[in-house]
Point group: C5
Chain length 330, copies 5
Amino acid sequence: MIEVHAFRDGTPLEEHLVLGDAERLIEDDRNFVWIDVTDPQRDEIDALGAIFALHPLTIEDAHHRHQRPKVELFEGYAFVVVHPLAMRDGPDGDELMDQELHAFVGRRYIATLRYGDEPFPLQGVKHRWLGQSEMLGSEGGGFATYVLVDEVVDGYLSIVEAFEDRADDLEDDVFGAPVSEGQGSELQERIFRLKREVVRLRRFAAPLRQALDMIQEEPRLTGSKLQPYYRDVTEHVIRVTELADNIRDLLTSLLEVRVSQVANRMNDIMKKLSAWAGIILVPTLIAGIYGMNFNDMPELRWAVGYPAALGTMVVSGGILYVVFKRKGWL
Amino acid sequence: MIEVHAFRDGTPLEEHLVLGDAERLIEDDRNFVWIDVTDPQRDEIDALGAIFALHPLTIEDAHHRHQRPKVELFEGYAFVVVHPLAMRDGPDGDELMDQELHAFVGRRYIATLRYGDEPFPLQGVKHRWLGQSEMLGSEGGGFATYVLVDEVVDGYLSIVEAFEDRADDLEDDVFGAPVSEGQGSELQERIFRLKREVVRLRRFAAPLRQALDMIQEEPRLTGSKLQPYYRDVTEHVIRVTELADNIRDLLTSLLEVRVSQVANRMNDIMKKLSAWAGIILVPTLIAGIYGMNFNDMPELRWAVGYPAALGTMVVSGGILYVVFKRKGWL
Amino acid sequence: MIEVHAFRDGTPLEEHLVLGDAERLIEDDRNFVWIDVTDPQRDEIDALGAIFALHPLTIEDAHHRHQRPKVELFEGYAFVVVHPLAMRDGPDGDELMDQELHAFVGRRYIATLRYGDEPFPLQGVKHRWLGQSEMLGSEGGGFATYVLVDEVVDGYLSIVEAFEDRADDLEDDVFGAPVSEGQGSELQERIFRLKREVVRLRRFAAPLRQALDMIQEEPRLTGSKLQPYYRDVTEHVIRVTELADNIRDLLTSLLEVRVSQVANRMNDIMKKLSAWAGIILVPTLIAGIYGMNFNDMPELRWAVGYPAALGTMVVSGGILYVVFKRKGWL
Amino acid sequence: MIEVHAFRDGTPLEEHLVLGDAERLIEDDRNFVWIDVTDPQRDEIDALGAIFALHPLTIEDAHHRHQRPKVELFEGYAFVVVHPLAMRDGPDGDELMDQELHAFVGRRYIATLRYGDEPFPLQGVKHRWLGQSEMLGSEGGGFATYVLVDEVVDGYLSIVEAFEDRADDLEDDVFGAPVSEGQGSELQERIFRLKREVVRLRRFAAPLRQALDMIQEEPRLTGSKLQPYYRDVTEHVIRVTELADNIRDLLTSLLEVRVSQVANRMNDIMKKLSAWAGIILVPTLIAGIYGMNFNDMPELRWAVGYPAALGTMVVSGGILYVVFKRKGWL
Amino acid sequence: MIEVHAFRDGTPLEEHLVLGDAERLIEDDRNFVWIDVTDPQRDEIDALGAIFALHPLTIEDAHHRHQRPKVELFEGYAFVVVHPLAMRDGPDGDELMDQELHAFVGRRYIATLRYGDEPFPLQGVKHRWLGQSEMLGSEGGGFATYVLVDEVVDGYLSIVEAFEDRADDLEDDVFGAPVSEGQGSELQERIFRLKREVVRLRRFAAPLRQALDMIQEEPRLTGSKLQPYYRDVTEHVIRVTELADNIRDLLTSLLEVRVSQVANRMNDIMKKLSAWAGIILVPTLIAGIYGMNFNDMPELRWAVGYPAALGTMVVSGGILYVVFKRKGWL
């Protein structure tokens, strides 16, 4: 579905516009045109390609989706690919949902193609465009792109901070909950899954740094007034990737600690097993001895024989218990 | 076997051509000649060397095969080595089959040498050449090479996506199937083998990036019109290597998780073993006690002695069972 | 809370100043103004923004806090973010407390924004400013910033050296204390937590290197006289990151050694268990034999039968004991 | 031992030459002189130093041996260090033997110093010099050095491919042979030793890349005609290092897989142990029960008592056997 | 303690000199002055600072010690920090002793500050200065510094080669000594400690590379005549770091192999334990059976009953023994 919006000197035109108007409007340098396509179809992409004279490769990329985050400069426009992410409840806990978004950006227009079942919402972006209407009026596509990418990266920052919290929870679980609770494997699975999502986030965020450098090489799009803005969003991209790296390393260490906790726990179990085996087997041996059928076993005839034997069993078991307790095996 | 094809202004000439015609045809700047050699023999390579004035080192490389993916610029031509890959059923699951391909590329010709039992099929490449005949007409070898490399890299993308699916399956197997099913080692072998194939794919893909940069340094082959195309295929190469890196890291983590699952499982087994040993050994001890031959063991004479002893055994075993159950050992 | 200080030719003016005076004072090139804001409020930041003509992005960053350590050059001023750290008693041992500090630095002024419950104390900084008043007089903001960053980095150095000591202690604990003391997991937790804090420290220190390079690119702030000073603090930043890397690697190795110690210990326990099981079970078998009820068991009628049986038990147990002792299993 | 050979326009002079002739011969630009020194002695090196005006540091390096692979350019000559490698039977399987080789290369001469008990044989090198006598005639030392390094690198390629085969064998052993065969440690030792040799090979090969770049910076030695040759051997060096990296990573993974196989195997053993212990201990308990001496144990008087008890033992053991078999413990 | 030495045209002046003479002597371009300070005190450093017009930061660094290895160029002199190392017997085996050394180097002088209880001996350095007196005469401080650094790096080379030998010994120990000897943990400690010392060595050596590049940027100190010398010592620094990296990787692998050996050993022990448990428990069960008190147990009345029972025990044990032996469990 295609929606067409236009801004004159940064103020929205309150007309109902169709794709055909776009061509006319962008000829006037005071206008800025935003074409928004959700769930883009082949013919819609081709129509945009005709209006903005897009390179066949751009059209092909837009058809295929699944592009890396990137900015490609073509004659007269920039092709921008970003992957906004949303947290979603998955079958195995929260998962990141990829909301791939393509944009064709010229001096006086931006066309956004939003893919997927739940495409990336652009209300926030539009709100900021209107909030700095003088920038939108003077800088046009360069500013519109900055706001778009900045919103995406702000989303990354929220996610990476949520991941940080979850890593802290996992840390508490690893050190807090005793290993013996039988939840070991489940904890490892949670660590693994979080790590996988962190790596996925990083994969979408990291190439943006190079992409942002690339778009700043096109002076027609990004004049010197925009330079601090692009530097700022680049800084945020770096922060996202650094935090993601940190969380990943932390989770790796946590998994190692877990393995070593399990090994420790095994030692404890083995020691307990050994100790109790001893405490049971020694009286069993004593019982075995007095179960022998020798004709001449004087103890058997003693009046105190039986209580003494029982006593010996208890005492031997008790001594072993104390010894093992002292050695920390029990 | 050598086949010779020619295109005038991008349109195929419908003549039957032999190697001797090639020399004549490439002198006319409107022609483009494609020489395709499958399972190249020494004399065929030498014949090509004579026609296109190839450097002795190029001829030697073509004789030896097993070259790294690369582009080497020589006086008047480029020497291109790529390694298309095909999935094949191997004795231990799917395996990648290397279909090494060399190409000598000049402004007006391309000679492709396809090695191996099942050489890389070029129908798709030819189809795309004819589909953009004006590009083939104007850009000649530079365009022909782009299409060739792009097809190879598209093959890599399909493979890497298939590998991604398989890694997901392995992940499900690791977290889904209980460790005790005795399939542990087999799962690790599958993880290892997939990882090895991923690394192999990456080894063939990654050097292409540098190779594509190299060929763009030769302006006679790759004019500015081709620049977006080469940028596009470079982008795909990066995507392949990034995905391969991701899969490799995922598989490494998965193997670690597996090891830690096995250790956890060991703990469970040890706890079960300890618990059941206790449940059996305590009644055994009781039985041993009443098997002693003391003259004076009053319980032996009680009417309820025997049932009481059996009862004690059952109760002690039962108490242990409940205790261990509560501690999660059973 | 805002405090305003001024220095003429490096000497403090003993007047009570308010924010309004700052604007007037920095117009005179002999003055240097220091505005110190603790726990900055929105309106205070906005007021500073108005006085020093700060870029909207700087103001936004100051509002949001949680910035990466960085230096950003704007028209007429530099925006500096550092993260001083203080050691604090946490629930799980010592922890690093982040005392984020922002500074707006111009040729004739520095404005410091100190965040957090316990903001970074600036007495030491002020003391060094007064100690080199001629530098403060001639170099102004460039010198003031150097002193500020140098104090922060000196703090990092103290911390990293304290961490080094603690890593040494952990090393002693790993190699000194026997594994069987049951403190295994707790030691691993201490290693993990120290490693995490070391990584945190590194994360705050490492970006300073690039930030210090950045500020030296602004000749109006950092003249050639300051170059050795900035080189010196850069050197200290490198030292901090190198030491942090070292400690991290050491702790990683230590954790691995610990895991392998635990495995060794397990072997010892298993051997002991096997040995004692043998020593008890063999006499039990002997007792079992003479507990059989065959009519014709000649040993049962021997006068020395019983002592001989007991003797056999002792001897067999004793032999096993000696054998296992010799093999090092006991 | 010093041997002196000379070539005029690439053709060998059939005279017997001594060191003294060298000085005279290299003055004629049509000549090329090759001085070959096996097991060089101090005085021989000093004599060469005098003839070719070598720098004191070159002479010192030649005296000391154990240099890194390198090319150092001095006034009028290049100092080349390579480490040819030969496979040799060692006490712990095949080992790489280092055949360090130094060369002093000028425009019209090359002096090769071959160290060690079995110095690197130069027949192949000489054969190729004569095979391309026109290159030797026109390019002299630059070409001679190329052939020398190319032979060394070809040796590396053979070795690295042999290592690849051996890594494949190890992979088969790891996945083929059951862990229980008691050969576990020996397999790990073989993996470790191969990895060590691979790393050693890489250490000698990798610096050659930089060395080959270095020599191409000296236009008097390596004219443009030699450029493709040097590029070719550089390509081979990269192939060696890439293959070595691959093998090393493979072996690392293999070792990890092995560890995890061992852990799996342990689980199997533990399960078997638990199962059999249960199968034996339950009948033992039953036997213990009927060995009790209570006066009133009705079963003891039953005619079918004994067979029933035996039957219960067999049945209980059998049930456990079936249960454990189904659970995959046996 | 300060000692002052002077050389005229490279030849030592045989006068007794004090610090006051230095200022006079360095004004004559034929002289070269060496001031050597052992265990430098604050006032001595300050005195040097006054004579050679040292920058306050240099003086501060010299006061504080614990600097990174570096070369800093100041107006008129270079500040050099190196860390010579000596092997020393420590409580836990050999340890590296840091002999930090600072030097202020000008065209006509060098001042060496040697810290620590056992400062780095300079006899060897002085001997080489006198041995190449013409270089000392013409190149002055640049040459003196080269010799100093070269001696330090030669020390590193000796140490790294000693470490290589020790790593070989550890390798032999890991593969030679059986794991069961109970020395497992001690071996791991030795591996860990050697690795730590290797990392320490590397930390002192690696920054020298950059430092040596830095000093060569000052043409007044290091003329073209010195260039091969500095290149040579740089080469040695690289060799030290490469060897250190190798040893570190080897030790890491060795530790991993050790862990996996321990796990293997555990398997062997478990198998042995299982086997012997079976061999003892089966006869125990038989004895238990014939210890039952059933009235009607025909075997009990057989004359051969008892020997037969004993025989069954021996045979069952024997069969199990043979079976386990064949399976390699014993």
